[in-house]
Amino acid sequence: MSAAKTIIRFENVTKRYGKVLAVDNVSLAIEEGEFFALLGPSGCGKTTLLRMLAGFETPSEGRILIDGQDISRTPPNRRPVNMVFQSYAVFPHMSVADNVAYGLMVDGVGPAERARRVEEALELVKLEGYGARRPDQLSGGQRQRVALARALIKRPRVLLLDEPLSALDAKLREAMRSELTQLQETVGVTFLFVTHDQDEALAMASRCAVMNRGLLQQVATPSDLYEFPNSRFVADFIGSVNLVEGRLAVDEADHAVVEVAGLPSPIYLDHGVSGAHESTVWVALRPEKIELHKRGEGRAAPLLDDAPAGHNLVPGVIRRIAYLGSESVYDVAVEGGSSVKVSRSNLTRRDQEDFAAEEPVWLAWRASACSVLLS
């Protein structure tokens, strides 16, 4: 692979609407060929960032560069980016072929060349033979393909997608995820998409930027976001998590111990934290990283043997069980008063019967299971 080349660069971009700060001093570089996701809850500024890149909004401060060129003030029709709108914005008064050809038509591309490239673009999005149809004869998924073909036919440097899957039903959404990633590999264009759906971002993106209240929280690969979140916001926003507040009791180069008021035993970690001793920290523990063991007379406590005895092991009682098919999620009340979510894969057809509500259990986790968050 050749050395990655930066294609989009946001430099200290801020956008204000009156007194409201929609985007707050965001600096971000996106590399050529990436499938990049802007992820965050609604109102976090991700769509504003995308619209500034498309040219529909102008940054209040900072610059946006594409291929090193400052395009902050370039009108949208002169930018080398094209967008797939959330509503698809397929022109209702034109046939599918005319929709797809629109960008070439306004660029003055000749009819023969236009027809050839429309054919190609429709083939790319698997809509061969749909050229003569009207948009109102298409399903939502097909309209989205028209919007994709219409944007890709312009051979943009970057394809922008605003909540590309939000208007599709659940099954189609799953299928479109892999189709979009395949399409991106085929055309080799940099894709930048906005989503509030963390599953979507994790499944499709090569890299994600998580935003909250106009601020960039973390930029990382999907697995780094999930396993190594840098803040409580990211840990909580991506996936499900047990977040507990504790006190950093031991912090060595190769291990650390966090004492938590609501847990009877301290949490042992196999890595240093580089936080101030005795400072307040938060521990993020994903539900699937906790093991569930039966607890009762004559049963020994489980031993995961990568932490000193008396750590990473708490007794509790199952309060509620949610059976989700592939896994079951157990709500466990632990001694000390906290409530912890544990999920357990249903590896056989009878696994969900292993534990019942009100059953006493041990919760155990490995020293490498938790991440410690300083903010």
């Binding site: 040219g55 094209n82 967008m83 509503s87 209702p92 629109y102 306004v106 312009k154």
Partner: protein, 301 residues
């Protein structure tokens, strides 16, 4: 929703009955009476015999009257075209104004309705007449320029006021003035419904604002344009007060002729025939327009 309303027959009758009765008694029946008169003859000063004659219609399509009818359509067409040209930018401006400004602009569009048409037309006379303020301002400019050219030895002579009243110009000007809101409101309604992301998509795909206007805005605003044209054209054809007050002897429209038949000439049958001739022609125009629209929609589909 529709279904349940249709099934509630009693509610339907109670709500729909009075207006239907009203329309039948005070609109359809009088219209029918006039329609009957158009096939009648004056027997005496007050007596009309409806004897099925087509004589009134034959009289009505004589070149003298047909010419006035055609001129009425021509005035109405020019008025409508001017309203469209002036009204479209206004409608666009209202559509893209901020919510607060939008309310004010719409109020300004409605404001003329708060004043009686007669008073507004007289006000227009004050603007357009020889001593009106347009000619006054032009006169000032003229005398100023005249003084300058006098320095060079060529004075312009006395100012001749522009003849802007009691002629065809005054009638069309007055009609545009009266009809403009009826053009702007349907245009605004159509433009306001327009999905903004379609305009953004057009820009995003490389089109400039003019191309976007021609290729996306106008085609999608077409229903609004059609209804704006209809509600401007039809009342303009039958305009009475405007040509009566602002027009000259040669800018009579058909409504003025009809009025004279009913009043000074006391020839109700002929007046009725002229009225209905105008109505038939309007119906034909609308029918043609409807057929064209439907065929275009069918060809598109």
């Amino acid at each position: 929703m529709d279904e349940s309303w249709r099934r509630a027959k009693a509610v339907f009758a109670v709500l729909g009955g009075p207006p239907v009765l009203w329309l039948v008694a005070f609109f359809l029946v009088p219209l029918g009476v006039i329609w009957g008169y158009s096939f009648g003859e004056n027997r005496s000063l007050t007596e009309i015999a409806i004897n099925g004659t087509f004589g009134n219609y034959v009289h009505a399509i004589k070149p003298l009257y047909l010419g006035i009818i055609l001129k009425s359509f021509w005035f109405a067409a020019v008025t409508t075209a001017l309203c469209l040209v002036v009204g479209f930018p206004v409608a666009i401006a209202i559509t893209f104004a901020s919510e607060k400004t939008k309310a004010w602009l719409l109020l300004l569009i409605m404001l003329p309705f708060w004043t009686n048409l007669l008073i507004r037309t007289y006000a227009l006379m004050a603007v357009l007449r020889d001593e009106g303020y347009i000619n006054t301002i032009l006169g000032w400019g003229w005398s100023g320029v005249s003084r300058l050219t006098a320095l060079a030895g060529h004075p312009l002579g006395a100012f001749q006021p522009l003849p802007m009243l009691h002629n065809n110009f005054a009638v069309v000007f007055g009609l545009v003035y009266v009809q403009l809101p009826f053009m702007v409101l349907p245009l605004y309604a159509a433009l306001d419904r327009l999905d903004r992301s379609l305009l953004e998509a057009s820009l995003d795909l490389g089109a400039g604002h003019l191309t976007t206007f021609a290729r996306v805005v106008v085609p999608l605003a077409m229903p609004g344009i059609v209804s704006g044209v209809l509600v401007t054209l039809i009342p303009s054809v039958g305009a009475y007060l405007t040509p009566d007050l602002l027009g000259g002897p040669s800018s009579q429209m058909i409504a003025n002729v009809i009025e004279r038949q009913f009043k000074t000439a006391n020839d109700w049958p002929f007046g009725a025939a002229l009225s209905f001739l105008l109505m038939y022609m309007t119906f034909v125009a609308i029918a043609v327009q409807a057929i064209v629209t439907r065929n275009r929609a069918r060809r598109a589909a």
